[in-house]
Amino acid sequence: MSRDLLLKRGLLLKIELLSDPKALYVVRGAVERLAETVGFAAAECRSVVRAVDEALTNVMRHCYRGRPDQPIELYFRRPRRRSKGRLEKGLEVLLCHRGPAVDQAQLRGQKPGELRPGGLGLHFISEAMDAVDYERVGHTNRLRLVKYLPSEKGSSRGRRSERNADFHSARGQRHDF
């Protein structure tokens, strides 16, 4: 068993898939529940699901050019940003894949509302997430998607589901989400 990444980085979950579009339906099922568990409200869960789905779709279409047998890895973890001394809470998704480096100059969608088929995926992703970064590490492309929970003041806790309670880190510490 590869304990490496999972244990080193305190991940919540890791999913490995191939670039077959049939896997998208399965992955959405996991991501929706993970976002709910982490504490997002229903509409926010749908946003996160949409962002991950569109990002995977882009990799399958534009990087792997429709080849259905190429590897993709998804790492789900807590975001690491600290703000005013507190760990900001939410969900970070790291999407790793091979294929040619993503040319960031090519990442141009269309303005929504235009009657042109296509070009909406990047808009859905940026609308959903608080941070979207592309990075090349060795032969691997890494797309990092982060969404933070609304900060916890007053009644916002009430919106969170009962599943919000804590996941545990790799070192057995409790991490309150």
Binding site: L24, R46, M60, G113, L115, G118, L120
Partner: protein, 110 residues
């Protein structure tokens, strides 16, 4: 995802249920364009009330069908948008671009 097709007078009604994503939007696109372009049906109605998810490639198929129907002067109509379908069209700023009705009766007579 499941597509079924009904023909009523001069209209074709598609009932789509489940998730529309990259795995099946090519199939949706093909079925819609066939009815608009090849069969030249005057009214093509898409019932989205049981759609639980629609991605950008699904929206692109709808846009392409709308454009094809405009090209030949027929009508392409959406009906009974589910919550998720409406949300995605709103995000795409396309709610005002499509002809949308709440009920099938309105879609067939409006």
């Amino acid at each position: 995802m499941r597509i079924s097709i009904r023909r009523v007078d001069n209209a074709t009604i598609f009932d789509i249920s489940g998730d529309i994503d990259l795995a099946n939007s090519p199939e949706v696109r093909k079925a819609l364009l066939h009815e608009v372009r090849d069969n030249r049906r005057p009214r093509v109605v898409l019932n989205l009330s049981d759609v639980r998810y629609i991605d950008s490639s699904g929206v692109a198929s709808l846009v392409e069908s709308l454009k094809a129907s405009r090209d030949i002067g027929s009508r392409f109509i959406l009906v009974g948008l589910s919550g998720p379908a409406r949300e995605v069209l709103q995000l795409s700023r396309l709610v005002k671009v499509f002809e949308i009705y709440d009920t099938e009766v309105e879609a067939l007579t409006g």
